[in-house]
Symmetry: C2
Subunit: 667 residues, 2 copies
């Protein structure tokens, strides 16, 4: 391979073993080998997967057709591999899912994501055993493709307000699904447009003249042979979006569609043949699937951010622009401190969020065990944690990817860079599966409840610091170490929650209702929940690093320690107003933090390319003119431009039709 | 018109006369009438302009063809109107330009923008009289369409590094244009792909064996009759981008292309027939066109932001979601304080930036007068001001439009909302005509120079506060009024510049070169330049409001005063860390600011829809399912979805080809 000289030079001077870090990121040597094996299988079908006109030049309809073509191939490869690797057993669910998500080769998503991310998990958590026996094998094998229809045109966040009805008819032992208004049309479900033939539908359950709130039903949408929509069903796709145009988001409306009684998912609540409604033991049990999905979103966001920083960092090493000193050759833009400031935090964030999400995933599995034993104690905490972590992770990764994109200048605006599409995916994640502001307010609600019961409640681990920080006081001498900063953030979070509570109390004293006071304080509540989340992420990152670093070689330990340091300093400086307001940090301390931050950027500079190489994203997955491993940036930009169908003719027909008459004054 | 009830209700309760504000925004009653007249002319050609498949479903090539079709029609309407209105005189340049930019009906830009925004202004400022006589009339009438080719694949920011050469051949009295490398290909010029037939090309001028740096040349690119590229020229479009796909950005390479000597633009520097180079009087004179373009960018950014806030605010009034109180009907989301926090600052920003840009524009014209008189005194200040104002305006409008987009939840991700395209235009502006980071560093360089000469230099108006703030001291008692906050920001800016200078001095003392110290301090320098810009914008907004408000009715004065207040409070809270670090503001003060900010949001709430109605953007320009005047949000979303060609068939062909074999295990 003919590698750009500057990029090669960066690799030569890297201080640590890149493969060692790659294996750590993958979760072990075997995982890396496994991944590389799948990559080989994908490359074997390179022509069919990556040939033809680039997707960015296609029409909306052509993009969908391309998406089906390539994603069917990928899905088949992953399925076969997992089946072989696990002796026919596909039940290691997170493996299948993350492997699949890692190998999305269409830059605007895959129509099969929802089948694995929502349809199957919801089914697993809400169908009873008999239903699982009936449906799961076919769903696992993709004999049917499912979607998950909850959101409606008129309702997203507030699911209690959903309008779709499922009314039980005891005479025929069927539910009648109906969409009474335009706003009750389901809107957004991935794959639902023209791909899925089954769907879990969330609707208001009515029986014996009473409404029992929302429940989930499995509904066949299209004929399995002809794929034609079934009678009474109006289904289609919702149209072009900012990104993710290969997800095939759809709408669906029901005109008195009848489904059998047993299509209500009955693990928790049931409707008996005569129409009697049997309540769920605990309505909070459904939180499980939501927590699962939100953790997956954090992992997936890290995935996309690592693409963005790989592209932007390699480009910054290849791009030469301006002189640091007069009469010297132009420098690599990665030598500019402002550029390091934009990029390196992105690298650190990938590790910080991945370690946090892994820990959350483990906690999730523990709590699942406890749930099975009937212990619901940690469920609210886990839910609150997943809410804020999803919100902060998606917001941070979206902002940092966008920062990386802009750091590539104009070329980052080219779709051939892959950056606009990557940013658009991360952007969507700020909204889907719970709007970030709404999620942070849910976390805030939990925190306020904890704060109000601080004297009496047994505190679960992630909020225990609220009491200790309060007891130990926050006026301790400030300490500029990572541990000191974490303590500072704990104080900030504690004080913010405390102030929100006081502020609401004051407002209620002056005559506001509790709800009005909550609303008037909500901007501060959102900020408090974010602060809490920063405590969790920074302290998890630090703790996990300390835990795993003993297994690292000294060189890797050194560079990872720099990343932990960088991450902590970055957020200390970003949230300086909080530290200044709530802790005893001095102006001199802040100046030292700033200087140490600048020095840390410099210390990371020589290893930056090595750090993104360690993400080990192959060119065919990265799909970027700016970020390919060999650094042939300019040649690739030109090659991709020449593939534009507009460039196939020297003169476009619109010249004769419109432009020439205009120029010659004959219009 | 059947208007959504909630929206109508908002309009009924608006406290001020919307038309009064509209006329103020337009710049007078007559301007409003003029605009409405052009709108009528455009609506008369509604079918041809807005019919057919929505542009979001088209392929890249089809988008270009649509762009030419619609923009030729619009251009013709504006031209005819301006000619009639000005008795054949089209020289009121800013009018033509802003009118044209206001009426861009393609959501991804117009291929004619560059002709007016760059080609003509550069020509006006760099061509000598004879050249202007020869070319201008044809350019004014669009008999030729021009582009401006400066940026190359390998060089954007650092124009001294451009590689394209123009070598004078005294024997034939011609320049030979040449692109020696791939990286020397011009890349990005709008309209250059398949639209423009002329182009101003920036190249390194060589004569008599010497290089004299970059100069501008006018070059014919395509035959006027056939539109075929001329010999030796390789031209095409650069491919799909994140947005602005109707701009038709192009690339061009020259293979020893010969152009006459008089195609060098000779207002400032000349090459005589024998090849003698005659230097420009002052190399800074070219700053004029750059300042002009940057002011236009600020106006245009405001334009796009006002679209985004119109859409998001109207949607927030129509959308009902969740309950503020249990058992009440669902509330309009505009009632949530978090929503007001996201939207109202956008409305205030439109006014703040527009007033600032107007003042900068007037200053620009004054300085142009002085330049003609040989007085270059204010040029560096003006240049520094235009740099930071372009950077801060584009960054703010991009962030606020994106915030507004996200505030619409999932629907803001739909292209039919118009928001993704609007955000993508604003995003591009952060990079084009000077990357924002680079521009802020240019302002910083000016500020550092001023600071170092504080005792001796005569200070120009926009930096005079540096001395007065220093002299009057910054430890005065803090004052929470708008004036007090402005004074606080002046102190912050002064202190930051001062600290940057100390920091660099310290680094140089410890052995760094001046350039290294500059680079290591550049993150802080960028922040200092931003602070300076905040001083300018907030104080201009405040001053201009005080100046014009006497002509407002009391009701309008009240609401505009709230906007000034909101804008100031928002930035005080956003930049609290600076105020805490550098002024005597107390924690109690900050709490009062927060409370006043929340109260101001509430006070603006009833007038929010009126405020965006006052931007008076007609539906055909706004092109948004979420933002149309009548608020038929959900019906429009569905109507637009149904226009997707993918929805024309119930089953897509990819089902038979790929999906069915997969589902039936026959792949």
């Amino acid at each position: 391979m003919n590698v750009n000289k500057d990029l090669q030079n960066e690799r030569n001077k890297c201080s640590f073993n890149v493969r060692e870090l790659t294996e750590f990121i993958d979760g072990g040597k075997n995982r890396t080998l496994e991944r590389k094996h799948i990559e080989k299988l994908i490359l074997a079908q390179k022509d069919e997967l990556f040939g033809g006109t680039p997707e960015d030049y296609l029409s909306h309809k052509e993009k969908y057709e391309r998406a089906i073509q390539t994603n069917v191939i990928i899905l088949k490869i992953v399925q076969d591999f997992m089946r072989d690797a696990n002796g026919g057993d596909l039940t290691n669910y997170r493996d299948v899912l993350t492997t699949l998500l890692n190998f999305v080769v269409s830059r605007e998503g895959t129509p099969f994501a929802l089948h694995f991310m929502m349809f199957l998990p919801v089914f697993l958590s809400q169908a009873d055993e008999e239903q699982q026996m009936e449906w799961l094998p076919r769903a696992w094998n993709c004999n049917i493709i499912g979607s998950y229809a909850q959101t409606e045109l008129g309702h997203g966040t507030f699911i209690r307000g959903l309008e779709t009805t499922a009314t039980y008819d005891a005479a025929t032992k069927e539910f009648v699904l109906h969409s009474p208004t335009v706003t009750s049309y389901k809107w957004w479900p991935g794959a639902l447009g023209h791909t899925a033939n089954y769907c879990v539908v969330v609707a208001q359950l009515h029986t014996k003249g009473q409404c029992h709130g929302i429940h989930s039903f499995i509904v066949q949408v299209r004929d399995e042979e002809t794929h034609m929509p079934l009678a009474g069903i109006r289904v289609g796709e919702i149209g072009a979006k900012m990104g993710l145009n290969m997800i095939n988001n759809g709408f669906i409306g029901f005109n008195h569609v009848r489904i059998p009684r047993r299509h209500l998912l009955m693990k928790h609540a049931q409707v008996l043949e005569d129409g009697t409604y049997v309540k769920s033991r605990n309505s909070k049990l459904n939180y499980g699937a939501m927590v699962f999905v939100r953790v997956v979103i954090v992992f997936d966001s890290v995935n996309y951010l690592s693409k963005a920083v790989t592209i932007a960092t390699r480009f910054a090493a290849v791009r030469r622009q301006s002189q640091l000193k007069a009469n010297e050759p132009e420098c690599q833009i990665i030598d500019f401190l402002t550029q390091q400031h934009k990029l390196f935090i992105g690298i650190a964030t990938c590790h910080a969020l991945k370690m946090t999400a892994t820990k959350l995933w483990d906690t999730f599995n523990e709590v699942q065990q406890q749930l099975r034993g009937g212990n619901l104690e940690r469920l609210p905490e886990l839910h609150a944690l997943a809410c804020c972590l999803k919100a902060v992770s998606t917001a941070d990764t979206a902002a940092l990817a966008e920062g990386g994109r802009r750091a590539c200048g104009g070329h980052g605006y080219m779709r051939s860079s892959g950056l606009p599409q990557t940013c658009a995916v991360l952007d969507a994640a700020c909204t889907f599966e719970g709007d970030n502001t709404v999620l942070l307010l849910q976390t805030a609600r939990f925190l306020v409840k904890v704060w109000r019961g601080l004297d009496t409640l047994k505190l679960t681990p992630t909020v225990a610091y609220l009491r200790t920080t309060l007891t130990e006081g926050f006026n301790d001498k400030w300490d500029n170490t990572v541990e000191g900063i974490i303590k500072g953030f704990q104080t900030v979070s504690m004080r913010k929650i405390s102030e929100c509570v006081s502020c609401m109390a004051k407002r209620m004293m002056s005559g506001m209702s509790q709800e009005e006071a909550w609303n008037m304080t909500s901007v501060q509540l959102v900020a408090a929940a974010e602060s809490h989340c920063r405590v969790i992420i920074i302290s998890y990152f630090h703790e996990e690093f300390v835990k795993v670093s003993s297994s690292f070689s000294p060189a890797l330990r050194r560079v990872m320690k720099l990343l932990v340091e960088l991450y902590t300093l970055y957020w200390a400086l970003d949230k300086l107003q909080d530290l200044l307001k709530y802790t005893s940090i001095s102006k001199t301390d802040t100046e030292q933090l700033q200087e140490r931050y600048e020095d840390t950027l410099n210390a990371l500079r020589p290893d930056a390319v090595g750090l993104v190489d360690a993400f080990d994203i192959m060119d065919e997955i990265l799909q970027s003119t700016l970020g390919a491993y060999d650094g042939r940036v300019y040649e690739r930009l030109m090659e991709e431009a020449l593939k534009s169908p507009l460039n196939a003719e020297p003169v476009n027909r619109s010249f004769h039709q419109y432009l020439k008459p205009l120029m010659q004054g004959k219009l």
